[in-house]
């Protein structure tokens, strides 16, 4: 039961997010009053006007006006975004209501891959050489002027959707046309794509929380499957990283430099960084937490710090506490290694069944196997797709053991597909 003085959190939940349960349940555990804002109305909105609202996520300024109107009758103490689109909306609302958050310009820069690279390059952060290309451009002419290998990507999509490597002019032209088709479906208003140098090296993901502009890194996740293209569908994340300590320090410093260059001040970040003999390269940074259900791989345990009596926090609890300026008992990740596998799409088709889930779950160190695709769902592989089949989680003594467990569990799964109509 909520107390009358419970702080109210405005939670921006797009209807397609995986993050609903994690954030709603975290807020409940914290005793926080929640107002869920989505871009489409809940059928219960009239029944619970304090708890459910519809905001215009496509127009952050309009959403901020809507939040202002809502706040006239319900005092809002904090706002949390869960993905790239809502990160800009949350910044606009935070500015409008005077809440903890990022400047709108910074959130917008993080959302726009071209603007982000411009700011990072200007600040001296190592980024791949890049060029913005209008979708109306002549791809053959652009291909003649490109350096190879290069990577073509939409400037506005997420989850490696539409990201394609090209090693030759012919591959460049094919990738260009393919991304145009993806944009026509996924982001019809987008009129450009980014062409950038392919940076060889080991890729990691950095998770952290920014407070007053200072980045606290929670975890550096190794991505042990090589991300060399032609497409960049992610699979395994394992932490702690097995990179050398100096490499990890360079990666953390690179992420902090990017946060500063973009002007981010408050809230979670998720960054993709590559590391090679020339140091750390910022590939992308988003002003949001890790996507999908991958946050389940992060757990924060006060037993390790001696500040509490065995309290375990989720990433979502930390993000909510930060947004509401509540005390955060720990920012230290648990001691053991942890990993998640985003189950790759095996091919195009309609999912009929997933077999071997029990066997996968029985693999030592496997914590859970969550199949999120539903029977009858049409599966679309990358680069057109952006929905995984599900997630496998593991924990153990070492990152090597966790990675091996994830691979063994995945090998136990069998996916029955039918050809799509």
């Amino acid at each position: 039961m909520l107390r009358p003085d419970s702080p109210r959190l405005l939670l921006l939940l797009p209807t397609v997010t995986y993050r609903t349960v994690a954030f709603i349940e975290a807020a409940r555990r914290l005793g926080v009053a929640v107002t869920v804002a989505s871009e489409r109305p809940s059928t219960f909105e009239r029944a619970n006007p304090a708890g459910l609202v519809t905001f215009d996520f496509a127009d952050p300024a309009h959403a901020a006006e809507q939040a202002r109107a809502f706040a006239r009758t319900h005092l809002v103490h904090g706002v949390v975004a869960v993905d790239d689109d809502t990160a800009v909306v949350a910044a606009a609302i935070a500015e409008e209501l005077g809440l903890r958050g990022n400047p709108v310009a910074a959130a917008r820069a993080a959302r726009d891959k071209h603007r982000q690279r411009q700011l990072l390059a200007a600040a001296g952060v190592a980024v791949p050489r890049f060029e913005l290309l209008p979708t109306a451009a002549d791809p053959e002419r652009a291909a003649r002027g490109a350096s190879y290998p290069c990577v073509l990507k939409p400037s506005c999509l997420s989850a490696s959707r539409g990201v394609i490597r090209a090693d030759t002019p012919a591959e460049f032209v094919a990738a260009f046309e393919r991304i145009k088709r993806i944009l026509e479906q996924a982001a019809p208003a987008s009129r450009s794509l980014l062409v950038e140098e392919f940076v060889p090296g080991r890729e990691v993901a950095v998770e952290g929380l920014v407070s007053k502009g200072a980045l606290q890194v929670f975890a550096i996740f190794d991505k042990p499957d090589p991300l060399d293209g032609p497409f960049f569908e992610e699979t395994i994340y394992v932490t702690p990283s097995r990179l050398a300590r100096t490499a990890q320090q360079e990666i953390a410093a690179c992420a902090q430099a990017a946060v500063t260059a973009l002007g981010l001040r408050e809230g979670p970040i998720h960054a993709e960084v590559r590391h090679n003999h020339r140091g750390a390269w910022l590939i992308e940074l988003a002003a949001r937490p890790i996507g999908g259900r991958c946050s389940g791989a992060l757990r924060f345990d006060t037993r390790e710090t001696g500040k509490g009596k065995g309290e375990t926090l989720s990433l979502e609890e930390i993000i909510i506490r930060h947004a509401l300026d509540m005390p955060i008992p720990t920012l230290e990740r648990e001691a053991q290694a942890s990993g998640v596998m985003m189950i790759p799409v095996p091919g195009p088709g309609v999912l009929r069944d997933v077999r071997g889930v029990n066997a996968a779950g029985a693999v030592p160190l496997i914590e859970s196997v969550e199949i999120t695709a539903h029977p009858g769902q049409t599966l679309v592989p990358w680069p057109e797709g952006s929905r995984y089949l599900g997630f496998i989680f593991a924990r153990g003594e070492t990152s090597e053991a966790v990675e091996a467990a994830l691979r063994a569990a995945h090998a136990s799964l069998e996916f029955l597909l039918e050809a799509a109509d």
Partner: protein, 206 residues
């Protein structure tokens, strides 16, 4: 079928709660909810789950082939979950039903009689308001039972597997229950969301 052939899938909701989907039915007489080891007496499955060392289990709910376990311990689900799996297999292999039938109603305050009265009021609310609302998204919410003033529901249609099902549950149904039937102490979703074949909102990674 041997108990070694029984398939059990764990679906942690958070560090405190986890659903276990079992390929064999455990209880065919509706839903049983156990909030204490005393209540679990006579139901081998619930007794065994409450007895898991270090788990500090606070609640066990069994419905058909679904077991929901709530624990207070910070122990991770990989450890506790394996013990729950063993308890499920042992209960299925035992000579008596894993879960005893619901006891007959008594007149004690807060007992099954009070739950029956609550059930009627909640059912009325579901018929008159909740289900017409979720029907607009092709959904349906079935009132399974009320035990110790805790409402158990199963979602179907567009709600089953929907990315916003938890919003519907907490911000919609639970909020209405607090308003119209304030005696209700909580709500538990016993839906197998993974089996939902037509969710109204499907999630995508971002």
């Amino acid at each position: 079928m041997s108990v070694t052939d029984v398939r059990i899938t764990a679906e942690p909701i958070d560090n405190g709660r986890c659903k276990f989907l079992v390929s064999e039915p455990l209880h065919v007489g509706g839903v049983r909810r156990f909030a204490t080891p005393d209540e679990a007496r006579g139901s081998p499955l619930a007794e065994a789950i409450f007895a898991i060392p270090g788990a500090d289990v606070s609640e066990v709910i069994v419905s058909a082939n679904l077991v929901t376990v709530v624990k207070r311990s910070p122990a991770p689900w990989p450890v506790v979950g394996k013990a729950v799996g063993q308890a499920i297999r042992a209960a299925l292999a035992g000579g008596q039903p894993p879960v005893a039938s619901k006891p007959a109603a008594t007149s004690t305050p807060g007992s099954a009689t009070a739950d029956d009265a609550l059930y009627e009021r909640v059912a009325d609310l579901f018929d008159s308001q909740v289900n017409p609302m979720v029907a607009r998204h092709g959904g349906r919410v079935e009132l399974i039972d009320v035990q110790d003033a805790v409402v158990m529901v199963r979602m179907a249609g567009g709600c089953q597997g929907c990315g916003m099902a938890d919003v519907t549950l907490r911000q919609g149904i639970e909020a209405m229950l607090q308003q119209y039937v304030p005696e209700v102490k909580g709500i538990v979703d016993i839906t197998d969301h993974a089996a939902g074949s037509n969710p109204y909102f499907a999630a995508a990674k971002k």
